[in-house]
Structures are given as C-alpha cells and as structure tokens.
Symmetry: C2
Subunit: 405 residues, 2 copies
C-alpha cells in the first residue's frame, strides 16, 4: 500500500535542508534551514490534498477530512547539530505518505487524519517545545527565559519565523480534538536490529532523571601527599562508581546511567583539581527505581562530603516520569502488523519523544524501526529501505484502522 519510491524521494529531498559538510544534517529549530524545510513540507501536505496551518508554537498541522477527533501521525522537523536523516523526518514523512495511501485506497473514514510536525523537539531552545505547547504546559514566561547555547532567545527566533510567543497558549488543543497520536521513529538503540525484528511496538517511554553533580575540593600541587588531598576529580570517580553500583542494585541490568557532561578545573596536568562537575542521567521504565536512585545519590553525596573533604552538591536537572502508552493504540499497532504479516515485538523507549509528551494527555503510542548498527544522532544514522517500507506500512495501517468508519 505504501508508495516506497515516493517516500524515499521525500526523505532524500527533506535531507537536503540543512545538509552539512560532514554529510550530516544540521536543521536546528527555527533556523533558516529549518524554515526552508517547513515551507517545503507544508507544500507536500497541500499537494496531498490536506489543509495546513502553523499553530502558535510553530507546529505544522496538515489535516484531511472534516470534523471530529483526528487520528494523527507525525514527529518533529528539527534536527540536532550534525544529526542524521531519519530522526524526526521519518515520522513526519511516513505520516504524510500514510495519508496519501489511505486517500488512494478510498477508505471510508469516521475521523479526520492529521500529520503533525512538531517544533523544537531537539532542545535547541527548549526540547519537546511543540508537544509541550500543544498539551498546554508551556507558558509565555518560560519562553522568555529560553535561549540556545549562543544566547539567541526562543522568543526572537519565533518572531523571525512570524510567531508571537505571548500567544503560545493558543497552541493548546483539547483532549477531544485528537483521538490518537502515533509516532513512527527509528529506535535509538540496537535491540530490533540485533534481533532482526522489523517493528517495535513501544509500550511506553522510560523515566529519565537527570542531575548535575558539582564537586569542590582544594587545588594542590601534584607532589602533595595523597592522604591530605581534597581531590575533586577523585571524589567524582568515587561517586560515579558508587552510583553505578546502586544502578544495578536498586534497578537492574536495564537501568541505565550516562555520565555525559564532565568538566574538571583547572585542568592542569600537575595540579590536583579543586573543582569538577558531571551530569548523571538515569533511565528506567519504573520511576520508583529512579526515585530510590535519587535518594541514594543524595546519601552518597553527603557521605563523600563527610569523608573526603570534597563538598558534593546534587542539583536535579530533569525528572521525567515514565509514560505508559495507550493500550488500545498499542493493540491497534499489533493488529496492523498482523494484518500485514510483519513481525513485531513489544519494547520500551529509552529515549524521549514527542509521543511521550502527547501521551500524558491523549491516547498515544509509537512504532520503532531498526536502527542499523544502533547509531543515532549522528551522520551515520541509518534505517534500511526495507525497514522504512515496513514501518511506514504499519503506521499507515494503524492510522487507517483508527480512523476508518
């Protein structure tokens, strides 16, 4: 049912917006490159006979059909710096292709179909900005404070694109406006690819608790005795090691800890560091595990502070609870896969997605396709042509099942 060639052509064309020197895509939210891509995408929606609008947060909404709660598919249109060509793009283009196919099949529909391209998912300014706005949890005050890493304000970037941030609340949609939201996305992990399963039915998104941990000790010369040191980096290593132990003990093998942002001051070979900082990102499908890990982290910080003479300070950055997806939407995805004779498996998402924000307000779920080699957020990000076809087919069938009369 899916027109594979049409979808592949769309993917190639969209990938030209923001293509950078290294072969990656840099199409950051509300950038010039993204604005061009948005125009192109709106045209594709209209070509497919859809009515388009851009809401007060910059979300692009294409609609086919009249009144009633919409069955929506989509994802986001922005990318990280030097990202890949499937993250976000596949979800919006497969939803577009699904609407085209359902039209072509002439299925009688009880509900309108929608394609949604969310704004600023990748955290140039905010992260999940579009889906937060659509579910009504962003305020104009929060936008006033949001800047990208070079100090450009979200409010200014929105203005340049033609939006007034003070009207952001207008982007909010009632629960009754959307019957279901389905997001097709590449798995940002190796599970499906390693197991050779083409479809992941995502039952929920893991909880994600993130902390900034600061260490303040004393700067000493590298000849200084070990026993009297107050070494900020040594304290960091000790906390990281202890928390990796608690990760396994409180959580288990599927609980994850990522220490991604690490800084050590003064950063001189022959000087014992007096300051250090690291981020700690914990993920698990059970928020209770992360709540217990948070307690353990605070206890560890206090213990290390008492014992090492290095003051350890824990600052929560993020507490996103696990979001279970809608059982009926998940069932429909399974039925769609069975209709088409495509193998699938249930799974969790370790990464955050717009569907997880939407899923806290309306029935939502996700379909994952295998990520060749498990690489994502990089130019090497890859989904095979066959998996693109199978994923888009399941999305199409799911939307059709949800919307048909």
């Amino acid at each position: 049912m899916i027109n594979e060639k049409r979808l592949m052509t769309d993917l190639e064309e969209l990938a030209e917006f923001g293509r950078d020197d290294s072969g990656g895509i840099t199409r950051r939210s509300f950038s010039r490159e993204e604005t061009s891509a948005r125009k192109w995408f709106e045209e594709r929606l209209r070509d497919a006979g859809m009515q388009t609008r851009v809401d007060a947060a910059g979300n692009i909404i294409g609609r086919f059909g009249k009144q009633g709660p919409a069955v929506a598919g989509g994802s986001h249109i922005d990318t990280i710096r030097n990202g890949g060509k499937y993250d976000g793009s596949l979800g919006i283009l497969a939803a577009l292709e699904s609407v085209r196919c359902i039209q072509e099949r002439g299925t009688a529909l009880a509900n309108p179909l929608e394609v949604i391209a969310f704004a600023d998912e990748e955290e140039r300014f905010f992260g999940f900005f579009g889906s937060y706005a659509m579910t009504g949890v962003v305020t104009a005050n929060e936008i006033e404070e949001a800047c990208d890493e070079s100090g450009i304000r979200l409010s200014d970037a929105m203005k340049e694109y033609g939006l007034d941030y003070r009207r952001v609340s207008e982007a909010k949609r009632d629960r009754s406006a959307i019957k279901a939201f389905v997001e097709l996305h590449i798995e940002q992990g190796p599970l499906l690819y390693n197991q050779g399963v083409p479809i992941g039915v995502v039952n929920g998104v893991d909880a994600d608790y993130r902390f900034g941990v600061s260490f303040r000790g004393r700067r000493d010369h590298a000849g200084f005795p070990m026993s009297n040191r107050r070494d900020a980096f040594a304290a960091m290593c000790s906390v990281v090691q202890t928390m990796d132990h608690y990760r396994k003990e409180i959580g288990g093998n599927n609980t994850r800890l990522t220490v991604g942002d690490v800084r050590v001051v003064p950063g001189i070979e022959n000087v014992v560091p007096d300051q250090a900082y690291c981020s700690m990102d914990f993920r698990d499908e059970r928020r209770l595990v992360l709540q217990r890990i948070e307690s353990a982290l605070k206890d560890t910080a206090e213990k290390v502070t008492r014992q090492s003479g290095v003051t350890v300070h824990v600052e929560p950055i993020l507490r996103i609870n696990d979001v279970p997806f809608d059982k009926e939407v998940c069932d429909t995805i399974r039925e769609a896969a069975r209709d088409l004779g495509i193998a699938y498996r249930d799974m969790q998402s370790g990464a955050g997605h717009d569907a997880q924000v939407m899923g806290q307000h309306i029935p939502a779920a996700m379909i994952f396709v295998p990520n060749t080699d498990g690489r994502s957020h990089c130019p090497e990000e890859h989904v095979s042509k066959q998996h693109i076809f199978l994923g888009a087919s399941v999305l199409c069938r799911t939307m059709e099942r949800l919307a048909r009369a």
Copy 2:
C-alpha cells in the same frame, strides 16, 4: 644575621611586578611584567655590590668575588598565571640577602658567591628552561618548537627580551664553574607546617612520570542499553581506579597519582561519550616504582581495550627520574641549621625544581620552609615571616660555610 626588614621589603616590592586583580601574581616568563621585574632585580644585585650578567638563556647571574668555582644560591623569577608571591621569589631574594649578610659580616671567602634567577621555570614555554640551558641540555632546535598555550614562540619572546635563541649553547657552564647550588623554596606540601618543623633538608626530588591517556569508544544515546555501550568515560573511570590500586600496590602510601587534565567529548548530558582524555601524573622517590607503574598502565590499557570495546592509548608525556641531592651540600645545610639552633628534618621534594636539573650536573641541594596550610601555586600561598627569616638564615649560613676560606 639576616636583615629581616630588608628581605621583607624586597619580597613586597618584587610582588608588585605582575600583581593581578585577584591578588595573585601573574609574572610569566619573558612577559612585560617579568621583564620589569628582571630590571628591578638586576639593580638590587648591583646595589649589593655584585657584578651582573644575563646569559644566553635569560638567566640573571649576580656575582660577588673573583675567580674560582662559585657557591650559588637562587631560584626562578617567573610565576605561573595567578600564582603566589613566594614560589621562586623567596629563593632569589633570600640568596641576595645572604650575599649582603656575608659581605656585612666580612667573612673571608675562598669562593665567589653567586645569585642566580633562572628563566622560564614555570613552563610558559618549556619548564626549567634556564637550568636546562645552564646545564647544556637545551638545543636551538628545541627552542624553535617551543610555544606557549596561545602559540607565542619562545624564540620570539626571547628576541623581544634581547636574546638570540640560536646562541643558547653559550649559557652552558662547566661543572668546574659552580662548587654548589642551594635553592631555598617553600614546600609545596603540608609536611613541615603540619609537623611544626621550620626547615626541611631536601635529600632529593621525586621521580615524575606523566602520561596522556586517550579513550575512543562510540557515541550512543543515553537510552542505549548498558551492556552494548562503548563508553569512553566509563573506561576512563575504570583505568583511573585500577591505576590507583596499582599506585598503592606497586608503590605505597607515598606514591602519588594526579589526574589533572580531564576532557570528555561530546560533553552532552544525554549522549554516551565516544572520546575522553586524561593526564596521569605519578610521583615517587624511586624511579623503579614508576617504571613498574608504567608497565601496569600499559597492561591495563590493553586489557580495557580488549574487554570494553573502548580503545585506550597511552602516550608518555614526561619521564623525570628521581634526583638525589649532594650528600655534602645536604650535610652543610644540616650543620648550618645546627649552628643556628634551628630545628630541621630530612625530606623529599614531590615537586620539580631548578635544583633538580642543576643537581644532575653539579653538587646541589634544597632548603624547604613551611607552607602555611600547604597551599601553593595560588594567591593564598603563604610563608610566615618567622619561617622566611629562619629559612633565609640557614641559606645564608650554608652559603657562608661552603664559600669561606
């Protein structure tokens, strides 16, 4: 015998050259601030009746007396960025004060006295540049390659100061030119201060082996399963922990490991790092311990590479062997302290000094004075007035004993 007021005035005056906003001293080698300090110091040497010259490496040499092997005291005139006012300064000013006192006492001398202010000890360009040049182990080719961290060439900085780097070999002095070199310095550690002993007789300088350790793994999303990760920072923590174990096992409590320069790429909270780097500085009075630790580090790197999928590469940065100081010069320091009824203890230096470079070619030793709170290389670096007086007195008496007829 020491004129305490004169010495304290000199210390205060020298500290004005390069005083920075935070109350520290930034008098980096061959900078404008250092050049002004050099002029001031040469004048002080001449005021004390000494003949002065600047050698081909920029070392300032003041000499009192005629022919024969000199008894020299001194240290370096440059500081690190935002350093303290005693490191280097105390050694050159106490040597100057010693020469003035010996003159005033009218001691009959068999040897001339010298005060030496070494160039670029603090590694703006080279580290121990002046003492390396005086002992003949620096070549013009090496100078051509030396730059500071902002890319300024040592050769250009020397030229601006009026020196031709191609003539650096002229700075070399024969072994017979110097009978002994004695350097008074603050201890860059807490030992003397904590034990309440005013004088350290330094028997030698510890060996210092330094490595750059690079880790290359794979960049993954923070939702990626732990078991399949190739996390560069996790590998670094593991190597640091293993090497801290070997430090104690191969060396002991007095073997030191400093991990000072730490970098993690890409440094994003929700991305598993694919690249990491850390420096590892090992110190011990026995080079054999450090040689064994180097083997253990290489084995550990290979093992982690094999087991974790993160490639670990070890690059030696520095291999400075331990330098035992001259027994007779050390004895003379002890006798000098006993002459004056000042308590002392034997000790090692964990930090590197010009005396350690000189000590590989001529009889040399060091006198340490207590470092209040053990802080050094920072604006808070402090030596009490009493300890300055006692240290300078022992230096003066040592030089007098070594040079008298």
